[in-house]
């Protein structure tokens, strides 16, 4: 990529919007995932008694819905990111490409 193209892209408001929105979303969701996962690990480490709570019938302990919820949460986060990226980021990228090509 030559310098004139770099300068041109840098001058586009769409480019700054793309970088700002994508970085914000990507780091925000990454932090959400890390907080949930390490929160779970720390809860297991420091309050194992919490996981002996029975939440359904006589044998369904709270760990099962929590564990499945983390897996589903991870999947939903990826789904949310992909939806947002497909809708907004690709549109912005297309506008940037149109401006410079």
């Amino acid at each position: 990529m030559d310098q004139s193209k770099v300068e041109k892209i840098k001058s586009l408001p769409q480019y700054h919007q793309l970088v700002k929105e994508r970085s914000g979303l990507a780091w925000g969701l990454s932090i959400a995932m890390l907080v949930v996962y390490y929160g779970y690990i720390l809860l297991l480490a420091f309050d194992p008694a919490f996981f002996t709570t029975i939440v359904g019938g006589e044998h369904i302990s709270i760990g099962f819905p929590v564990g499945v919820a983390i897996i589903v949460f991870a999947f939903l986060l990826t789904g949310y990111y992909v939806r947002k990226a497909n809708a907004d980021f690709d549109e912005l990228t297309a506008q940037i490409k149109k401006e410079v090509e």
Binding site: I9, M33, H59, G63, F64, I71, A74, T93
Partner: protein, 551 residues
């Protein structure tokens, strides 16, 4: 060492089934080998189908881009299945179900650790990798830097991970096949080696991807069937499933709770870092992002992969509990233990559910899984040799034909090495190799890769010194750790009390990169820093990125 840390290590060992196989943990050879004909005939059907795919792919594999990246024409869904396939190795299928069978709830905790790296890879890496790279992750790591030293570092880190992972897979494969099919170990290893050389050298990435997709579909549908059959027998009630399981364990409710798996937070977090960042540094996984046409398909592939892997782990959990509840007949037991060890829980369960025929199907799927994963590893290793070392360091003027030829020779070399190592390490304790593979991937490959994409002030010197520091500290700390120092060398208490020292080695790599970059005042450093802007713009927009081949 406390009992709790011992339990933790035992659990880690179980999960990484190849090392469990190799270490002989809960994995005795059966008294006499029974040739399982339904498994063998189903396996032959699978091999026939994959060889036909290889033939089909070979006709379409003409250019270097076809060989390394399947022409860049794989869709997001296909790539998602292939990534999930790479991740759902026989180790994870048999290991996680076996761990749930042994420990109950703790198996689920481990599975979650394997999954949570994927969203992070999506958010921070997948699109950027696709926009910047061509064939290997070194293309991205070396993008704006002096090519040779970074390529050598990345190829070294990549090949080290591939070889270590291959040893674990091959030894695990030989033992598994010996058990399931009654085939001789050496014969099984040679068979795997010859087949993967054929897939990779003739069919390249296209054949490797389709073998992986077929296997992923077989594994997912087989697991779904087992889990549904378990739930059907339990009247689709988790209460009944858990109740029956607890009754079979003499009323021990502890399988429903966490059994002290994370009693040592430092170990748990270090393991979490190794799994999470190690995954983001595995060359055969990173390579898959170059097989899709654009960033959009790259991110879709991680979305699908996360879904398939998460779904698979939930199934593995049901299967593990199903095995506790249903695998009770004396024909499966050797005293109080399962015949063949805990890692055979899913295999025995498949026999309970579907008799000899279904046992044969699941055994064939397990073998197919090994073939597919080993193919992906071999291709990644061959690419590092031919693309990074040959075409970028030894002979930068190489034509595409020369490079592809070297890639095929490299496939033969890596495949041959896999056979030799598989046989050579047969009776060795190879438990350390998986720890080492993940720790190197997390401490050498990942820091250089992620910093090259995100940190504008990184220089060639910083990347090279930091990367090598990460690699060397990973090797040293694994050697001084409990597996090699205490178990293999018998030197007494480990100097480094962590099986996965990633918490420290990853930090060493990052600090090394940071320090040797900011103190670098050379002319090259200025060039490296000046190059960031154009690289960043390409990583964000995909302008100038490799397109798909049109044919």
């Amino acid at each position: 060492m406390t009992t709790m840390t011992k339990t933790l290590f035992a659990l880690m060992g179980l999960l990484f089934a190849p090392l469990a196989f190799a270490a002989g943990i809960d994995m005795e050879a059966p008294a006499e080998k029974v040739t399982n004909w339904s498994a063998i005939s189903m396996f032959i059907i699978f091999v026939g189908a994959t060889l036909y795919i290889t033939y089909w792919a070979a006709k379409r594999t003409k250019s270097a881009k076809d060989f390394y990246a399947a022409g860049g024409g794989i869709t997001g869904l296909q790539n998602g299945l292939a990534i999930a396939g790479d991740y759902m190795s026989a180790a994870s299928f048999l290991g996680i179900t076996g761990m749930v069978y042994l420990k109950g709830y703790d198996g689920l905790i481990f599975a979650i650790g394997f999954l949570v790296g994927w969203p992070i890879i999506l958010f921070l890496m997948s699109e950027r990798l696709r926009n910047l790279g061509k064939y290997t992750f070194a293309d991205v790591a070396a993008y704006r830097f002096q090519q040779k030293p970074i390529r050598v570092l990345a190829a070294f880190g990549g090949i080290a991970v591939v070889i270590l992972y291959l040893i674990a897979q091959m030894v695990g494969a030989g033992k598994l096949i010996e058990l399931l099919f009654g085939l001789d170990f050496n014969y099984a290893v040679v068979l795997v080696g010859v087949l993967i050389i054929a897939y990779v050298s003739f069919g390249g990435m296209l054949a490797t991807t389709w073998v992986q997709i077929i296997k992923a579909v077989l594994l997912l549908s087989g697991s779904t069937f087992i889990a549904l059959a378990v739930m059907y027998q339990m009247g689709f009630s988790f209460e009944t499933l858990f109740k029956t399981a607890v009754e079979n364990r003499g009323g021990d409710m502890n399988i429903l709770y966490s059994g002290g798996f994370v009693s040592d937070p430092i170990n748990a977090i270090s393991l979490g870092i190794a799994l999470m960042f190690g995954t983001a540094g595995l060359p055969h996984i990173l390579m898959r992002f170059f097989t899709v046409p654009d960033a959009k398909e790259a991110r879709k592939s991680v979305f699908y992969a996360t879904g398939f892997i998460g779904y698979f782990y939930i199934l593995a959990f049901i299967i593990g509990f199903g095995a506790i509840a249903l695998v009770v007949a004396s024909e499966y037991m050797d005293g109080a233990k399962l015949i063949g060890g805990n890692n055979m829980a899913a295999i025995h369960l498949s026999h309970v559910i579907g008799g000899d025929f279904f046992l044969g199907f699941i055994s064939a799927v397990a073998f197919a899984t090994i073939l597919a994963v080993v193919s992906g590893l071999t291709l990644a290793g061959a690419s590092a040799l031919s693309h990074d070392i040959y075409a970028n360091v030894i002979n930068p003027n190489a034509t595409e034909q020369q490079e592809t030829k070297i890639a095929k020779i490299a496939t033969l070399v890596i495949g041959g090495l896999a056979i030799l190592f598989g046989i050579g390490f047969k009776d060795q304790n190879i438990a350390f190799v998986v720890a080492l593979a993940f720790t190197i991937a997390a401490s050498a490959n990942f820091p250089v890769l992620i910093m090259s994409m995100f940190w504008s002030k990184m220089t060639t010197r910083g990347a090279v010194i930091g990367g090598w520091l990460g690699l060397i500290s990973a090797v040293v700390m694994v050697i001084l750790g409990p597996v090699v120092w205490t178990q293999i060398l018998g030197m007494g208490d480990a100097i480094v009390p962590y099986k996965f020292p990633a918490l420290f080695t990853v930090v060493i790599a990052f600090v090394g990169i940071w320090f040797f970059s900011i103190t670098d005042k050379s002319a090259r450093a200025k060039e490296d820093i000046d190059g960031f802007e154009a690289q960043f713009i390409r990583s964000q927009t995909g302008i100038g990125a490799e397109g798909a081949a049109n044919h």
